[in-house]
């Protein structure tokens, strides 16, 4: 069980108010969606939860504990991880190296013991390799594990990044537009993997996504953000049919 909560959160960038007193509570394991039109503050909200952006006002609570003051690293240590809209990968390195980088939060021997390859570190490394095997299988990238990342098509790069955030088995996983740049078939594959992440790893999955189809197919509950405020929340189908949501999300065109 994990619970991530935002209490009355406001984020300002100079004069711009990106988030305006948003409160929401996410409880997992579950698959939650966060949708809204461009510039609604979705990515800001995700960054605020993961520590990449600090709140101007308000609090972030993890399992009831105030983590507002914790930096990114501190939150990663507690199992809160994110992915990025454009995959941030080690371009020169192999798929496997990129996935292993994701093992960083798994506690293990210190740098000098790693340098001299002590038995403790070897044990850690073996475990890391096994976990990497497992997530590479899950994403269907096992056969390209030695390929250099810069040579991969965008869908596979996306899966490499997701494998990297998943390999340390975080309690809470926030994904920023994971379906961006994927074709129809790849989106279906992504949906299937997201279901398995939430179910097999009992993760609280929070999806920021533009593609309503993906959200509908994956998320049980959604939050709708518009102009920095929470417009609506609840079961996916119910919320998606609310006139205010339709209006905010699809604009006047939906009514026409």
């Amino acid at each position: 069980m994990s619970q991530l909560e935002l209490v009355n959160a406001t984020v300002r960038f100079g004069a711009l108010v990106a988030l305006n007193g948003v409160s929401l509570q996410a409880q997992g394991p579950a698959k939650l969606g966060l949708i809204g039109p461009n510039g609604a503050g979705k990515t800001t909200l995700l960054s605020a939860l993961t520590g990449f952006v600090s709140l101007s006002e308000g609090q972030v609570l993890l399992d009831g504990e105030d983590i507002t003051a914790l930096d990114v690293q501190g939150r990663v240590k507690r199992g809160v991880m994110r992915s990025f809209q454009t995959a941030r990968l080690l371009e020169d390195e192999s798929v496997r190296t990129n996935v292993l980088l994701g093992c960083n939060p798994i506690p293990g021997p210190g740098s000098f013991r790693q340098l001299f390859g002590t038995i403790g570190y070897r044990r850690w490394n073996k475990k890391a390799q096994e976990r990497a095997d497992e997530v590479e299988d899950l994403f269907g990238i096992s056969d390209i594990r030695d390929a250099r990342v810069s040579e991969l098509p965008s869908a596979q790069r996306r899966f490499v990044e997701l494998a990297r955030v998943l390999v340390s088995e975080p309690k809470i996983l926030l994904l920023d537009e994971p379906a961006a740049g994927l074709d129809h078939g790849e989106r279906r594959q992504l949906e299937e993997v997201l279901h398995r992440i939430a179910d097999d790893y009992s993760t609280l999955l929070i999806l920021v996504e533009h593609d309503v189809m993906v959200v509908r197919n994956v998320c049980e509950q959604i939050f709708v953000l518009a102009e920095g405020s929470l417009l609506s929340q609840g079961p996916t189908d119910q919320v998606l049919s609310e006139p205010a949501v339709v209006d905010a999300y699809f604009g006047g065109a939906a009514h026409a």
Partner: protein, 326 residues
């Protein structure tokens, strides 16, 4: 990794044969040069980790070579420490000074980091020239031979063997490092600080580790240089030496341990070859031209070119095999 191990398979046995044969075949002068080469390999391996792996451009590596050299000279002279203790003290002093410098230096990155390391180098020069009682000022110091009990520390062969062991030891560490957790954290810092943070890498601690590793390897390299040459003075560890070390690792290939060896050859052996054939003046021209060509055409350095060559041949072979089976 795979590309590297193929190349290592080629170079390691070859290298070992050369290493064992060298003392028999080389005269005193060349044995001295090769020993110097090993010392530079150690210093460059540290720069490979700091600059090549972690992406931190340091102009202060020569100062750390100097710290090792002066520490070695002082502790063998005044405390008469035997080699194992000397190594320990040199490593500790280098690491401690690095940790202190790291407090201001690692707060910044990129060009500003380079400038802080440059300032440190200048400060060190000033200290060397000003503290006559300890460092001998401009004149520098004579360096007593290594103290190794019954083994003659002054003999060129002993120096050669100790330096070779050191160079191999540090090379193995640097070769192994990128495969470890902290090695991957370094790559992440170099390529994308955001990615590094998102997987919980402590940027400060990882940089500190790279900085200390570089300082210790520079210190040990400097210690060996001091014993090999027998005397040291401030000019050997100034800004120019720092720039030369950086040039050498970029030329050799900053992402590969082999690059440190190639860089050391460029620093030590190539100028000596020019001197041997009586073309001292041409060396500067030659090294400038080579540097220009490598930077323009081969950003991964000479080691990168070799690795690319091996990789291409391998993939050619593979595709040929595929044609045969098809």
């Amino acid at each position: 990794m795979i590309r590297n191990s193929r190349l290592a398979l080629l170079f390691v046995p070859l290298g070992l044969i050369v290493l064992a044969g060298a003392p028999v075949m080389l005269n005193r002068y060349w044995l001295f040069l090769v020993t110097t080469l090993f010392a530079y390999v150690i210093a460059l391996v540290g720069l490979k980790v700091l600059f090549g792996d972690a992406g931190q451009l340091s102009l202060g590596q020569a100062a750390f070579v100097g710290i090792g050299a002066y520490t070695a000279a002082i502790v063998t002279d005044t405390l008469a420490l035997t080699l194992p203790y000397e190594i320990l003290v040199v490593a500790l002093v280098s690491a401690l000074i690095a940790a202190v410098i790291a407090i201001p230096a690692l707060r910044v990155s990129g060009l500003r980091f380079a400038l802080v390391t440059l300032a440190f180098g200048e400060l060190f020069q000033w200290f060397l020239r000003d503290s006559k009682g300890l460092t001998g000022g401009e004149q520098g110091l004579f360096v007593p031979p290594m103290l190794m009990g019954p083994i003659p520390g002054k003999s060129p062969l002993t120096l050669y063997i100790v330096a070779a062991i050191g160079a191999i030891f540090f090379s193995i560490l640097a070769w192994h490092l990128p495969k470890t957790k902290v090695g991957r954290a370094m790559s992440a810092i170099r390529e994308s600080q955001l990615a590094a943070e998102s997987v919980g890498v402590s940027v400060w601690r990882t940089k500190l580790f790279a900085f200390i590793f570089a300082a210790v390897s520079a210190g040990i390299g400097g210690m060996l240089l001091a014993h090999t040459s027998g005397s040291i003075s401030p000019t050997s560890f100034g800004l120019f030496s720092g720039v030369y070390l950086l040039v050498a690792i970029i030329l050799g290939g900053s992402r590969s341990t082999l690059g440190a060896w190639i860089g050391a050859v460029y620093l030590v052996i190539v100028p000596a070859l020019f001197t041997t054939v009586g073309l001292d003046g041409v060396y500067v021209l030659f090294s400038g031209a080579v540097l220009l060509i490598v930077i323009m055409l081969f950003p991964a350095g000479i080691a990168g070119v070799l690795q690319q060559f091996v990789a291409t041949r391998r993939s050619n072979k593979r595709s040929k095999r595929r044609e045969v089976t098809a």
